[in-house]
């Protein structure tokens, strides 16, 4: 008796023997090989393409001869004529096994293909979206067993896709009968899988095999900006990204001022809710236009946001979040119909998923950061800092994860800074101050030249120098500290003390002149003592929060710092550490995670498993409330110094100069003293 042919699938290496005539797709399914199919093996969808390999495969112990697969059949011929089948490709549902063979499953034929997030990260994401299309063939009605069309559709989904139980809303029910008849008892249904053993829900139904691409929206709804990624739900590709200002800003710059607005103005919460929903609708329209898709193709939206944004998005008055004990209306993830939020620029059947909140001050955005950065899976003790108007801080490793938030205020975003501005062309974002001459040079957004380059003025002609953005102010303050223009308490020295006329008196304090464009009609950009104070307050809050978590973890040091947030992507680790924003670690242990909250939103959009995982992680995270932590105030005061009044920062001090100056005088006119301590 001869053995059945041996089939080896790559890259999985899974192998087995199958009777001659077995379709490749069937063999793949029986072996658990990840080979896609939307039409269930009917030669319609072409998702099951494979690349057979012929010849000697000593690694696999297989010799694949000509004829190891059946010849092209009519289905493949027709498909090739219509769409073109790449050379060497076969349709897995049509090609039958005739002899030993090695079959490669290309990445695009893998359902659970992994989407590499980005080079900086080693973490990968497996596609497992909540929303997926399924092609089914439905039994025709029979007067002898008069079940409804919906029941026969459910039966088909069970038999053909193993889907246990489905529900359908009234809009699907209304379209079901004409669609099934138009499709001659075949249809493509879009199902939504809930995350807690819920039934699958039929979102829409189209006649026959419908190839319409489905998209999802991952939204990072911040207090200042709304960032949204339009994502292809088949492969996780971001097809368009756009951002908009959060229009709630007109009700209050920061979170607490919006909570106050709601408290002081009856219906104020509803006005803010309406404003943000309108903005989301507009942003969605923009994204769909940019990607050249219909808004009807958008079937799900995943939101991450801080608790106040979370409540205002849901239409819940955030008043309780403005006062102790900062009670959330709901902390678990929220799953809704699109219409529940008055969102309109998607498919009317679309679903909304909002990640869970960690605590009253630590929201779904922090949960998304936890999902993206996964401190709970790290061997190294990792501090994740998401810097925004409010900073969310996570500290942990495989043993446990702690979380808190700290009210940094908007200084890091350029607000409350005399020449501060949003990160936009013309804004100073990089600064160096010569430690000897005390002369600055800088770069602005939109130009790669430094300001001391002879071509600089010509290159920036159009935008000019307009102000200083968040990362720029951090570099400016840190550089001033390293150049000895600023003492550890945060005082700017006078011209005599510092030896440069760029330090000039403004009332009883001094400012440092960074740029004077007045001759050419531009601005005069200086770092004022007020700017320094604003940055000190912000960074003290940030550091004190981290320090509180370190106390709780029983440590004085961390192994690794991850800077999350759009701002974190632009910040210079060295300058941040000189400022004492983050604990003292080797600079190569400070990494930027980019918009980690947005990445977490995309992960949740693309994976039901990720949703379940973060729900579980969030329950396990130990929440620390800074507002009632007895040592927070002490940490805050100590952190006011640059870099710190108590913590030694030995690693930092070994790499950068931190001149031991003290400008605690009543001015610099005449008898200012300049004291040097031993380093």
């Amino acid at each position: 008796m001869t053995q059945d042919p041996l089939v080896v699938f790559t890259p999985s290496g899974k192998r087995g023997r199958f009777p001659a005539g077995t379709p490749v797709l069937t063999a793949a399914r029986q072996l658990g090989v990840d080979l896609d199919s939307v039409c269930g093996g009917r030669g319609i969808c072409s998702k099951c393409q494979v690349s057979p390999g012929y010849g000697e495969f000593s690694k696999h112990g297989v010799t694949a001869r000509e004829g190891a697969l059946s010849d092209w059949n009519a289905v493949e011929e027709r498909y090739d004529e219509k769409r073109g089948l790449a050379p060497g490709r076969r349709l897995g549902c049509q090609a039958q096994i005739q002899g030993d063979i090695v079959i490669d499953v290309p990445p695009e034929s893998q359902v659970h293909r992994q989407v590499v997030r980005k080079e900086a990260s080693t973490r990968e994401m497996v596609m497992d979206p909540a929303v997926r299309p399924y092609y089914v063939e439905v039994a025709e009605p029979d007067m002898h067993t008069p079940t409804g069309d919906l029941e026969r559709l459910a039966e088909a989904l069970k038999e053909q896709w193993g889907i246990g139980s489905v529900t359908a809303g009234i809009s699907v029910l209304r379209h079901l009968q004409p669609v099934l008849r138009k499709g001659k008892w075949t249809c493509t249904v879009v199902l939504h899988k809930g995350h807690q053993d819920e039934d699958h829900r039929i979102l829409s139904i189209a006649p026959g095999f419908d190839e319409t691409r489905l998209y999802g929206l991952a939204v990072d709804l911040g207090s200042t900006t709304i960032a949204a990624h339009l994502t292809d739900l088949r492969n996780g590709t971001v097809v368009a990204t756009s951002g908009a200002m959060n229009p709630q800003i007109r009700f209050g710059e920061d979170l607490m001022s919006r909570v106050s607005y709601s408290m002081m103005n009856p219906g104020g919460d509803l006005a803010m809710t309406a404003a943000v929903r309108t903005a989301i609708n507009a942003l969605t329209d923009t994204l769909a236009a940019e990607a050249n898709i219909q808004t009807d193709q958008i079937m799900e939206a995943v939101f991450v946001c801080n608790p106040v944004m979370h409540h205002l998005l849901l239409g819940i008055d955030p008043v309780e979040l403005g006062q102790a004990p900062f009670a959330l209306a709901t902390s678990k993830s929220v799953s809704l119909h699109l219409a529940d939020l008055d969102l309109t620029s998607m498919n009317p059947a679309a679903r909304v998923f909002i990640l869970p909140c960690i605590a009253g001050h630590v929201g779904a955005d922090a949960a998304a950061v936890a999902l993206s950065e996964a401190p709970d899976q790290q061997d190294e003790l990792t501090l994740v800092v998401d810097v925004g108007t409010n900073a969310e801080i996570l500290l942990g490793d495989k043993r446990k994860v702690l979380a808190c938030s700290s009210p940094t205020g908007p200084a890091f975003e350029g607000a409350q800074i005399s020449s501060g501005q949003r990160a936009a062309p013309g804004a100073i974002e990089r600064i160096e101050i010569d430690p000897v001459t005390k002369e600055p040079r800088f770069q602005i957004i939109g130009c790669s030249l430094w300001s001391d380059d002879p071509a600089f003025d010509a290159a920036i002609g159009k935008t000019g120098v307009t102000g200083i953005c968040g990362s720029g102010i951090i570099e400016a303050v840190a550089e001033m500290r390293m150049a000895g223009l600023l003492d550890s308490k945060g005082l700017i020295g006078g011209p005599t003390q510092t030896g440069t006329e760029r330090c000039f008196a403004e009332g009883r304090t001094h400012s440092y002149l960074l740029y004077d464009g007045t001759e050419t009609g531009g601005p005069r950009i200086a770092i004022t003592q007020g700017d320094i104070r604003a940055i000190q307050l912000a960074k003290s809050a940030l550091y004190a929060g981290s320090r509180l978590l370190m106390d709780e973890m029983g440590t004085d040091t961390v192994d690794r710092v991850v800077l999350a947030g759009a701002f974190g992507a632009h910040i210079s680790p060295k300058h941040a550490m000189v400022l004492g924003m983050i604990p003292d670690v080797p600079l190569d242990k400070v990494v930027s995670a980019g918009n980690a909250a947005g990445t977490g939103a995309r992960m949740a959009l693309c994976s039901v498993a990720a949703r379940a995982s973060i729900e579980k992680t969030v329950r396990e995270i130990v929440k620390i409330e800074t507002a009632i932590a007895p040592r927070f105030q002490e940490h805050f005061v100590n952190a006011s110094a640059i870099p710190h009044a108590a913590d030694p920062f030995p690693i930092l001090r070994s790499t950068v100069p931190l001149p031991d100056v003290d400008y605690n005088t009543q001015g610099d006119s005449g008898g200012g003293r300049r004291r040097r301590r031993r380093a």
Copy 2:
């Protein structure tokens, strides 16, 4: 060691020993005694009232002495002052067991109290509504374990009521925080229990202990009339019943004409959907006003209806129901939000439940009849006939149940009858024809006197005699047949043939003059040959359907006939049988079930278990489609005779005269022959 006190509960007879100091409610719960409580034993709701019995109870072997229960405590004193506690009553959650005692649980303290449906029936219904209020005490928020208010509420429901998992929609979420704070962390939530292991859904939430009564609506949505019962969800009491014409009548009298309307007029289905929903809203307002409740107190509506009404209620085009294979969009029960149906006159959070359909012609109304009459639980082979514009027929016993529908048309409802009218005051509903004189006498709706009573004319003064209703026409035709005025083929004899001038010629046929009110300005009411033909068509369709099911069951006889439907309640079994509407059974085996569909709707409203039960029964019912049954036409033709051309009706013939006359002539003028066969 002395034994713990013995407690015997009546009427259940459950008994057990409990340590002295155990509250009666606790003992009842541990023994599984059905003792109500909404507040969970906190002395708030007073639902757990019991009547302790003192003295010798030899039956139970208990001697209950004074002091067998603790003295009244402050909670009972306060309750008695505020509300009054009936003599001998105690609050089960407050009274503690101190010695042997017999405790009676009065009916109103039983949660699962049985509601006797009506005297004619022995079946009872156990209260188990989908919608119930629960009082809970919710943990206050804690900054150290910052869960959301919803999560703490869910925890409280789990701990205090054993409710596993709850969901809340956006409107509940929006109110949750202020309600919990207003109620000082106590609240009453109204939960809806889905019927398929679904989570409980929070429909509404009120601060503290909220005693608002909750109501449900059981609606029998017929093609002609909509009947609705407003029902107290605590005890199943119908607090108001009202009916309205189905406004879809203006689009078509019967089902098929409405389906045609939809086919011929684009958007016609939507117009009919809007019309019926508007009517339901108005009817609900009427009921709420009649019962003096707020529409907000109505938390659920249960609908039963035929498939066309079912689809039009749901907003589904019924076109498929008008043509073979009569495919339903969905056959299972449907559970919806109120808003899905644009219904407005209830609590906005209310739910809608629609019973399952049996087949494309046998709807949720037939399912409700099956629930109410339960042929599947009978030892006797039972034929259930629901007579309306369309007749639904069930035949079965414990072994199996068959179902079909038959298109009787509206003749039985007085339509298509020359003097026909709706059952309303003035309509003739009872008729007797003297077999010798051939003179009729009758009763009209609204007057208990017969027309040959000297006081009749005076008694009916206000309404007069206006026409003849459905049950009247059946009696008239049957009486004419028994009096020999009508032959078995349905021909009315002429004056010479019948010996009465009341039989008068109209063209080439004859009519029988029932009432002549022309002298006093009233109508002239006659039974015409056309009326007889209309009734023959209707009754043939009805009988043929029953006969088809009997064929399928392999029987020529049934044991018992149940006449369901509002019309069935008024029909005279004898006359129906003379007409041959129903198979030949002893007259005492013909019972009227009243509005069995409406009763089924009420049962489903009051019991989640009944919903599950009928869903299962409907799946098991064998569906027979009359339209494709080969023998239906033969049965129809045979059933045209009065009572029947082939079936002998021996039981009927043994009790009533069925003169063997034949009026198959070309008229009665002069030489009409009157042939008598041997009986």
